[in-house]
């Protein structure tokens, strides 16, 4: 019998025999993988396809009667043995001897294992339980004493270990050492008393910690969040996509009784492999708190009161009609493609305005044009991809802190460096832990200095280089222009925003100058094309207001109504002004999941469905379509944004053309393909570093910060490192400040105070802060990164030398 197992691009195949079956596999294939491919199951615990072999558990022992040279070998672990030409392998499937050995290994693993499966979270999905059943002895011959430990022990606020359950496979420690680079746990003691321990002086501060719970092959590692929450066999699993950043990791979401109990990383080799971050894993409770909106609300006598859907629609329509086309639409950056499409058409057709902008964040003047010209309309085929990063020679990070702003991208960058020796260059104000973990060379750069930094690198960048551009790059005048110049000489780049919905919003045309399918508002033929497709008379011709313009219009009264979808006022750089403006006459219609600062100012609030309650699509930064699957189909009150907007359109005497996400998806794809004129990008002139007194503010949002998505996941927030202000030793000395001392950072609007951390390798004249850890820095201080702030050490607090 001959079975062709795997024919990749690699032409070098070896032929060998496993249990009498001839296999042809690429050179270097491990025996355990080759066996999998012909359906032979070899038990394993320490083996994990994405971790380097360690051959510690010995469960996968096989016999090698012929190593390919006519001579046998002693029993070998299949997880660490590469198949050689002519090799003959016997597994437990064909050899009673091997079956006995494998059974013996399971018996060994069980002698010190508590067999508390009925109360163990892993029971029912436990590799030890399953393999003991499939390959182990029915009964143990062990009559001795089992080791016991006090239990459980916290490894972090979120992680617990029950040491007596541990089989010492070292998957968790290897994950930390190899995959995430967070070496915060280790083996201690020896022999059967070996145990996984954490360091007292180094808390497990990792944004990837949940992965070790998932890959633990027994119930030794559990999360505070999920411990004793459910039995695996009672859960209903759904494969879907994470909504917490622009990577769009595949998730396995498990629910019971219509409650999501946990989320696991799904397996998508092209995107997230088998990992995800703690924000994606644990940040799913925010929609199930007391502030969830369950009925429409209308403002009556100054107060928001519950109303029926018809009444709320009625009030909204009256207000919107009164405003005419002086309406601004702020849908936010978290929508699915389907909902984004509905907003786009709602603005253009129902409201007759192009004043629509998804960017509920700080952005620069050149960004919209850059996105229209260089990002919109691409697809995954011509984009830089996560997997493609491993094939690059050099990767430059600009305005982008991957571990915080796109965690799974960080994992891929680390892998690219670790496995393929890809050189990573980080343009950043200090040498971060993340840079160290990616083996990155840091070009120390103050915000504003990125263009000069890229200029010094320009010589060494070529068609094998990739520039990853974070959304913060748009804040530096001229920087996106420099990136597009590099693209002109063949350097590839990708724009990586933080939020999951920004790419979809871009493709749906949620910018004042952009229509769906990267059509330009200014292009008459594009408008005509869309008019025909939509069957509407006339689309607005004038480019609308962007987000800043809309808020300015609210302030000066020229924008009379707002339609908003899931935005936080505090995320706005001009939050204070927006708050003042909302006190005026503007009519506000909110489509929201949860009560927020903005809904407090609203005239009508429509509750909309959580992501887990609807189907949809995200477009990740690779321009890859990521499917969102409804996890929990029982929704009592909320409707999707599409459905609400369709109802409003009807009541306005117009039409949206779609009433459900499915229809919106079809409608979008019908018009998505546009071969006409694309945007033209005119970069703004570069300013360089802002001159003046004080220090330059630098900062970004850390992965586990005060984001409302993490509400309800407090244990995970506790694993975030405490916020600090960073300065170089020279800068701190000039201020007479020492590490640990509190420093106050003052801008036009206000001030914040944080303990100082003197940072070894950091550019001078800069203070770095996390932008939303404890306080929203930009609106509070009133200063954007790149601008100057006054910094003074706090006398009273005193320093720690």
């Amino acid at each position: 019998m001959s079975t062709d197992v795997k024919t990749q691009a690699n032409p070098e195949l070896v032929t060998a025999t496993i249990d009498g079956i001839e296999v042809h596999v690429p050179k270097g294939t491990l025996v355990i993988r080759a066996a999998e491919q012909i359906g032979i199951e070899i038990p394993r615990f320490c083996d994990h396809e994405l971790l380097d072999p360690v051959a510690a558990c010995r469960a996968c022992i096989v016999e090698v009667p012929d190593a390919g040279n006519g001579r046998g070998m002693k029993p070998q672990p299949a997880c660490a043995l590469s198949l050689m030409p002519g090799m003959v392998i016997e597994t437990g499937a064909s050899s009673e001897k091997v079956a006995k050995h494998q059974s013996g290994m399971l018996e060994f693993l069980l002698i010190n294992h508590p067999l508390d499966c009925p109360i163990c979270d892993k029971g029912g999905e436990c590799p030890l339980q399953n393999q003991a059943m499939s390959h182990g002895p029915g009964e143990s011959r062990y009559e001795g004493v089992k080791r016991t430990y006090p239990k459980p022990v916290n490894i972090s606020a979120q992680l617990l270990i029950d040491r007596e359950r541990c089989v010492l496979c070292q998957r968790c420690t290897r994950f930390g050492a190899q995959i995430s680079g967070d070496d915060f746990i280790s083996l201690a003691e020896r022999g059967a008393l070996s145990q996984i321990v954490s360091y007292t002086e180094h808390p497990y501060h990792s944004v990837f910690s949940g992965n070790i719970v998932q890959i633990c092959p027994v119930g030794a590692l559990t999360s505070v969040d999920y411990r004793f929450q459910a039995r695996p066999f009672d859960l209903v699993s759904t494969a879907t996509t994470c909504e917490n950043c622009a990577v769009g990791c595949e998730l396995r979401t498990d629910h019971r009784h219509f409650q999501v109990k946990r989320r696991l990383a799904g397996n998508d080799p092209l995107v997230n492999e088998e990992w995800n971050c703690d924000k994606g894993r644990f940040g799913f409770r925010s929609g199930h708190r007391d502030d969830r909106l369950t009925t429409p609300l209308v403002r009556r006598d100054g107060a928001l009161v519950a109303a029926s859907w018809p009444e709320a629609i009625d009030v909204a329509v009256r207000g919107l009609k009164a405003a005419g086309s002086a309406v601004g639409v702020l849908p936010g950056g978290r929508l699915t493609l389907e909902n984004a499409y509905a907003y786009s058409r709602f603005a253009r057709v129902v409201l007759g305005t192009n004043s629509v902008d998804f960017r509920n964040r700080a952005y620069g003047l050149e960004e919209a044009d850059f996105l229209a010209a260089h990002v919109a309309g691409r697809d995954v085929e011509d984009s830089v991809t996560l997997a493609g990063l491993e094939k690059a020679k050099k990767i430059v990070l600009v305005g982008f802190a991957p571990e915080d702003e796109s965690p799974v991208t960080f994992l891929r960058l680390r892998k690219a460096w670790r496995k393929r020796g890809v050189e990573i260059i980080d343009i950043a104000p200090f040498v971060s832990d993340a840079a160290r973990k990616m083996g990155a060379r840091t070009v120390l750069t103050a915000p504003g200095g990125e263009i000069a930094a890229l200029a010094t690198l320009a010589e060494e960048l070529d068609a094998d280089s990739v520039v990853l551009v974070g959304e913060r790059a748009g804040l530096v005048p001229g920087l996106l222009g420099t990136v597009s110049d590099l693209a002109g000489k063949g350097v590839r780049f990708a724009w990586i925003p933080r939020r999951a919905g920004e790419l979809a919003a871009l493709e749906a045309g949620l910018l004042p100058g952009l229509l769906p399918g990267s059509r330009l508002v200014s292009d008459a033929s594009a408008r005509v094309d869309l008019q025909a497709a939509w069957g509407v008379g006339k689309l607005p011709e004038a480019e609308g207001l962007d987000a800043a313009g809309i808020w300015a219009g609210v302030a000066d009264g020229s924008v009379k109504a707002l339609v908003t979808g899931g935005i936080e006022l505090a995320d706005l750089p001009q939050a204070a002004a927006a708050r003042r403006a909302l006190a005026g006459e503007v009519f506000v219609v909110c489509l929201e999941q949860r009560a927020s600062e903005l809904t407090e100012h609203a005239d009508v609030v429509f509750p909309v469905a959580l992501l887990e309650e609807q189907i949809g699509t995200f477009i990740n930064w690779e321009h890859r379509l990521r499917e969102v699957v409804a996890v929990n189909t029982r929704t009592d009150t909320a409707m999707t944004d599409v459905r609400v907007l369709a109802a409003l359109a009807d009541a306005m005497g117009s039409q949206l053309g779609v009433r459900s996400p499915v229809e919106a998806r079809i409608a979008y794809h019908e018009i998505a393909d546009w071969q006409g004129l694309r945007g033209d990008f005119h970069p703004t002139p570069a300013n360089g570093i802002t001159p003046g007194e004080g220090l330059i503010l630098a900062g970004w949002r850390t992965a586990l910060d005060d984001s409302r998505c993490l509400d309800g996941a407090e244990t995970v927030r506790e694993t975030a490192p405490p916020p600090v202000a960073r300065m170089s030793a020279t800068t701190a000395a000039a201020l007479d400040a020492v590490s640990g001392q509190k420093v106050t950072i003052t801008g036009d609007a206000g001030q914040i105070t944080l303990p100082l951390m003197i940072t070894d390798r950091m550019v001078d004249d800069v203070v770095w802060v996390p932008l939303n850890s404890g306080i929203q820095v930009i609106p509070t201080v009133g200063v954007l990164p790149g601008q100057r702030v006054r910094v003074s050490p706090d006398e009273a607090a005193g320093g720690v030398a």
């Binding site: 010995r58 290994m105 693993l109 010190n112 011959r141 020896r190 022999g191 008393l193 070996s194």
Partner: protein, 447 residues
């Protein structure tokens, strides 16, 4: 071979006044071989002489030393390292400690020659942490060699640089396994590494590394001085040269006996004054506790690599622990197994869990609380461990248990009903009439 064919070579100067001092070592021709290797020989010539001499690793495995050196890839741009394994921890093995106390400069000289052979400029001596006196003596010897210009920049006035670091282990038997030793030396937890890559390709700091036993390296100066042919005069065809046999236990004169490979245990026993009067040999280990035990049937086995292997054991470290008929083999086996359980690093399942389990079963047998079938269970558990562990530590305790059962099964089966101390009163095996007072059973039990 007659009884008087002791061949003092490594142990030649042990009886000299302050033999460990540099001046005294040099007065007897020390460092002549190092100079010869440095100034008169090429690297290839050194390797050829050592290959030709037939010197094999004295750490237990018996791999030809010269061949090991020739595996170091000289086209590799990384530095080459020599690591000397002095983590002597095997129960019964006590050859390196007295050798290094008596003549540390022999090792330093051997290192100089070996480094020249493999083109290494940095050597490490990894010494078992518990033997502080040896560490101090080695440190002093290395410091003196630096002082004399025999180490450091331009040694002996040549253009060759060589540094030696004496590194103290933290007390783990597993760090005698060469890859665990390298991890420990790098500052990590000492656990064996997955091979390949082998140390010769990617050893210490992922650079080409030779790991040699202290006795192997110490044997080199004499070979360089006297030539391969001289060395081959001693020993047997495949196991040439002389080595240190450590005879301990129920013999009248325990100690180190340097003799040609291939000497029989009967001859060594004669040299050691025989078994204590009134008693007879019951069993012995040929090479430390991890080698299968042999009995009085094996007195005429040639103690070389091939001879001992043919008798079903391993020459190992040539640590001949001798037990007379007063000793309970169950008790001995238990003590050995307890040692391995304590020293198992915990990396792999069969060693970690197997030793935990076997100790408990053996304790029951020693206490006469065993159950019918326990002996077969021991053998079956041993079979599940044997050859399937990560390194050979587990094979060591399997060997001592299975060989003991093979030769003395009835003693283990007696453990189903009778405590070992009733069959073999423990005070009888510790009582030496010539210099020991009788101690009582209860005192033994207290221990």
């Amino acid at each position: 071979m007659s009884v008087d064919t002791l061949t003092p070579n490594l142990s030649d100067n042990w009886d000299q006044f302050e033999s460990w001092k540099l001046a005294n070592y040099e007065a007897r021709g020390g460092y002549k071989a190092a100079r010869k290797a440095l100034f008169e020989m090429t690297s290839a010539e050194i390797i050829d002489v050592v290959k030709e001499s037939g010197l094999r690793g004295r750490g237990g495995a018996g791999f030809p030393t010269g061949m090991k050196w020739s595996f170091i890839p000289q086209d590799n741009p990384k530095p080459k390292y020599l690591v000397v394994n002095c983590d002597e921890s095997e129960p019964g093995t006590c050859k390196d400690v007295p050798m290094l106390m008596a003549t540390p400069h022999t090792l330093v000289e051997g290192i100089i020659i070996a480094c020249k052979a493999v083109n290494s400029h940095q050597a490490f001596i990894y010494v078992r942490g518990e033997v502080l006196h040896v560490i101090r003596r080695l440190q002093k010897a290395v410091a003196d060699a630096y002082q004399a210009g025999y180490l450091g920049k331009g040694i002996f006035g040549s253009d060759y640089d060589l540094d030696i670091v004496v590194h103290s282990g933290a007390g783990a038997y597993i760090c005698g396994e060469e890859t665990a030793l390298l991890d420990s030396l790098e500052g990590r937890r000492g656990q064996p590494r997955l091979r390949p890559p082998f140390p010769a390709v990617a050893g210490l700091y992922a650079s080409p590394t030779v790991v040699n036993n202290a006795e192997s390296i110490s044997s080199v100066p004499a070979i360089i001085n006297n030539g391969a042919a001289w060395y081959k005069l001693m020993g047997t065809e495949k196991s040439s040269g002389a080595t240190i046999y450590s005879v301990s236990g129920h013999v009248m004169r325990p100690g180190q006996y340097e003799a040609p490979l291939g000497i029989t245990y009967r001859e060594l026993l004669d040299l050691a004054g025989g078994i204590r009067p009134g008693h007879r040999l019951k069993f012995f280990t040929p090479g430390g506790s991890s080698t299968p035990i042999l009995t009085d049937q094996h007195l005429d086995v040639a103690l070389d690599y091939e001879g001992v292997a043919a008798a079903g054991s391993i020459l190992g470290t040539k640590a001949l622990q001798t037990y007379d008929e007063t000793v309970s083999v169950v008790r001995t086996t238990l003590r050995y197994t307890e040692f391995y359980k304590h020293e198992s690093c915990g990396k792999c399942t069969p060693c970690r869990e197997g030793s935990w389990w076997l100790v408990q079963t053996l304790r029951n047998l020693e206490a006469g609380k065993g159950r019918e079938g326990d002996v077969d269970k021991l053998l079956d558990v041993c079979d599940n461990v044997s050859m399937k562990s990560f390194c050979t530590l587990a094979d060591g305790f399997v060997a001592c248990i299975t060989s003991a059962i093979k030769h003395f099964r009835e003693e283990f089966e007696a453990g189903y009903h009778t405590p070992a101390w009733e069959l073999f009163p423990y005070e009888k095996s510790v009582y030496f009439p010539d210099h020991r007072e009788k101690i009582t059973v209860s005192e033994v039990a207290d221990q």
